[in-house]
Structure formats: C-alpha cells, structure tokens
Amino acid sequence: MAQSGGGAVLRDRTAVAGVGWTEYTKNSGVSTLALALRAVRAALDDAGLEHSDVDGVACHRVGDSASAVLVAHVLGIRDLRFHLDMFGGGGTSHQVVAQAALAVASGIADTVVCWRAVNARSEFRMGGTGRAAPDAPEFQYQLPYGYATPPQQFAMLDRAWRHARGATAEDLGRVAIAQRAHAALNDRAMMRKPLTMDEYLSSRLIADPLRLYDCCLETDAAVALVVTGAERARDLRQTPVLVSGAATGGGHTLFSNGRADPTVSAAADLAPRLYAAAGIGPETVDVAELYDAFTFLVPLQLEDYGLVPRGETGGFYADGHASLGGRLPVNTHGGHLSEGYVHGLNHVAEAVTQLRGTAGERQVPGAEVALTTGQPGYVGGTSSALVLRRDG
C-alpha cells in the first residue's frame, strides 16, 4: 500500500491571499460563468492583484457550472500554466485548493484562482429533475428504488450514526440552532432569523430522520480564492493565511467498498495524515469550518477529526462549546445550513476570514489555526480537508 510520506511538502509554503464572494440568492439571474468571474474579480481586488497576475485556474463541479478553462479564457489569461477542472461534489472542494497550492509550491504556477460557482437553486438542483440519469453502474441498484437525492442518501447515514451513538433529534437540533445564531452575525448569510428547538422539531420530514432544518440551503452564488506563494502573499494587501496542511481521502460509497461501519467516515483515516502534514494535533485548532450538507455531518466530523471524543458531541453542543465564545467555535459563518451552499468553498473562505481577524461580530478572538473540511467522503467516495494558519 502507498505510504503517505511527503505530506509536509506543502507546509506554510503557499497562502490564500484573496477571497471573493458574490451575493447569495435563490435566483441569481445570471450564468455560472458570470458568477465565477464576479467572485474571481472580487478575490483579486481583495488581494490587490490583477487578472494578468493569474496563471492558474481550478474549480470543482458536477457538470453544473462553467468550465475552468472557459473562465480562464474569459479572464483573458494568455499563458495558462495550470488548470484543474475537478469532477466532484463537496468531498473535492478542499482538494481543489490543495491542488492549487501544490501547483504554486512546485513552481508550475505563480498565482492560481480557485472558485465554485453554482445556480444550485434556480438552475441545477442536486439530485433533482432536469438532468440525465447518472451512468455509474451502482445507480442501476439505486434509481429503481426511488433513491436519488442527497437527503435520501444522507438520511440513511444519519439514521445509522444516531443509532450507533444514541443521538437524539434534539442533539442535532442544537447544531442547526448554533449555526443559525452564528449566521445572525453574518451579513452574507441567507438565513439569519434565530431558530428555536420547537421550530426545528416541528419542521417537516424530508427523508426521515432528516427534517427540513437538518438540510442545507440551495443557493445561487460563487466564492473564489487566490492562492499564491507565501513570500509573494506577504507583499500583498491582506494578512496571508498559510496553507499549513492538506489531505485527501477515500470514503464510503453506498455499497461500502470495504468500509464496514458507515458511522465512522473517511475523515478518521484522513485526519492523522492532515495533522501530520500541518505538524499540529487537533488540540491546536482554534476554529473549525466543517462541511455541513446535513446537521449530523458536523458532530460526526468533530469525532472523526479527533476534536471531541466519540459519543460526546451531544454534550459538547448542549454546553455551548461549539458556539462563539465556546471551546471550539464551529461553522462561524452559519455553514451550508444557514449562510448558504457554495459546495465547501465558503467554508474555506470563512476560515481565511477568521484567521485574518476580520470576521467582525463573529470573530473568534486570537484565532491562529483553522481546520476546514469537505464532505467526509460519503456517496461520492472522496474527502478532503485543509489546515490553515495565520501568518506570523
């Protein structure tokens, strides 16, 4: 089996130098190409760079968005030295940033823009209508049973996780409520009205046990990041946020693929590699932005990334430790549940904002190290995560 030596090759050699967002809406009224360009332009402005400084592009998508090369052409990049157009969902989001960092660290490119642009509400709903049947053989064993959408897929994993941990609906309600409280402090967030436990518990079932407020939003938006060398970033406009460690892992498909226990995700395998790459342990993490397509994925990852002992996440939330002011604030922007769904990349953007110290009312005081993660490998069978660190 392959060894994971060399994982530290990236450590602190590259930085996120710019971040850009479009508005978050339910109907952008423009193409994903336009969204991508707006976010990239905003990220370049944030960094104090011009489009002529960009020589690499990277994005992930599931056939639902403008291609990386198209965006590069429209940006007017003459000598495109690196391009990555990764097929995949939330499990690949953080790998895109890691690949951009690798391209910069290896000297292939100087400055890479990464983005995710989606009209995920108005145009292309995940698992919804208006798309051709997927072609993977395992879909022959799914679609005939009326099984196609992310809530259906994750509901079964949620059930297994609750069953194994003895977790209750209230335990997961606290995740949704805590994140909504964070979103109330975030001008960008789509859902800012406080959520009560009664509202959570009385919200309609989508795919039992998933209720409406267990499910993330569907959003039209784009988020972009500028990745460049650490030295170069120090000469730019913002406090550099260093890419300290990156790791990618496998995961569970529906049919297991050799992983017997669905309640332990690929993150449990990936986390040791990630921490070793960054040269830290989980106790060093000041703030965590964890992929949250559905509520249960957050406590599950707190377990699998070694941040909270297995089986103790219910108490962790009940005691307020995941909230601002708590021991480890989680999803300080509101996450996919309340800020919006930009397929993992808005979690990276929030981690960068926290580490710059510019998160305003929702700032985690003195945050120096952030863990941010993609979907922990379910369904698509791949996962990825980053450790970011404030420079200096």
Binding site: M156, T168, D208, L254
Partner: protein, 151 residues
C-alpha cells in the same frame, strides 16, 4: 424521533405495487445479475480465486483484485442495516412515503432496496427481513424485502 404518527399506517406499498420506478439498462458486468431476476433468483458476485462475495457486480474482485467472478445464489435473508422514509420524492411519479433501506444479506454484502409490507413504526435497524419480488414489465424483477415472519 422516529416516524410520525400520521404516517404510521403506511406500509411502504407491497411487492406487487406498480413498477413505477425507472430502471437503467444493464451493462456488460451487471447483465447476468439482472437476467437472474427473470428466474426470481437473487445473486451476488463470488470471486473464484478468494471466494469473496460482493455486490454490486464489478469487473474485478474488490478483495483480491482478480477478474474471475461468478454469480452465486443467496438465501434472501438479511437485516436492515439502515433505512430512511422518503417524504419528499425525487420525481413526481413516485408516491411518498416509501421506505428505502440498506439490507445486509446473511451472506455479507449489502443491497439497497425498498422495505414493503411493514408498518413504518415497526421499522428498525437490525430488523430481520426476507426477500420478495417486484415484477418489472419486461420480465425482470426488483428484489425488495419485507419483515421476516419467522423472526
């Protein structure tokens, strides 16, 4: 937590429910599996080199990597590994609520399926289930499961 009282009387339909589900065409690896359903035989792949059993059918054994595989009959008994009750269907031709489950066969592999003839409030992880067949118009059939009457 669990199912709501208002849906407890639903049983997720029965094995003879109209085949309202779309079935993608078989491919070169899965064709034998689908053909077996014409004879109402539930099969999984067995590796001729290491005896590993696997589902869904693939071009090679996920345990040893070899490519000599055959289809072998299984007992049709298993337990619900995990399940969900769909209340918002992905397509308008599907009528919720219905039950999607991952069943762990007695022989080991897991199968995605529907649970039929089962009150929703009886559903549980680890519930013993047995095979039933839902006919398809072209002579094939879909394996579905119901609670094991002998358990």
């Amino acid at each position: 937590m669990g199912t709501e009282a208002s849906t407890a009387e639903h049983t997720g339909g029965n094995a003879e429910s109209p085949p309202e589900y779309r079935v993608p065409p078989p491919d070169e690896v899965t064709a034998g599996w689908w053909d077996a359903t014409r004879e109402r035989r539930l099969v999984v792949q067995r590796c001729l080199d290491c005896a590993h059993l696997q589902h869904y059918p693939r071009a090679l054994c996920t345990a040893c990597g070899k490519t000599s595989l055959e289809f072998t009959d299984v007992s049709g008994r298993g337990r619900i590994d995990t399940y969900s009750v769909t209340h918002r269907a992905p397509r308008p031709d599907l009528t919720p609520p219905y039950v999607v489950a991952r069943v762990r066969l007695a022989e080991g592999p897991v199968l995605l399926t529907n649970i039929v003839d089962c009150p929703l409030d009886r559903l549980a992880c680890d519930l013993p289930v047995v095979l039933a067949w839902r006919p398809l118009p072209d002579g094939r059939a879909l394996p579905v499961f119901r609670p094991d009457p002998d358990a």
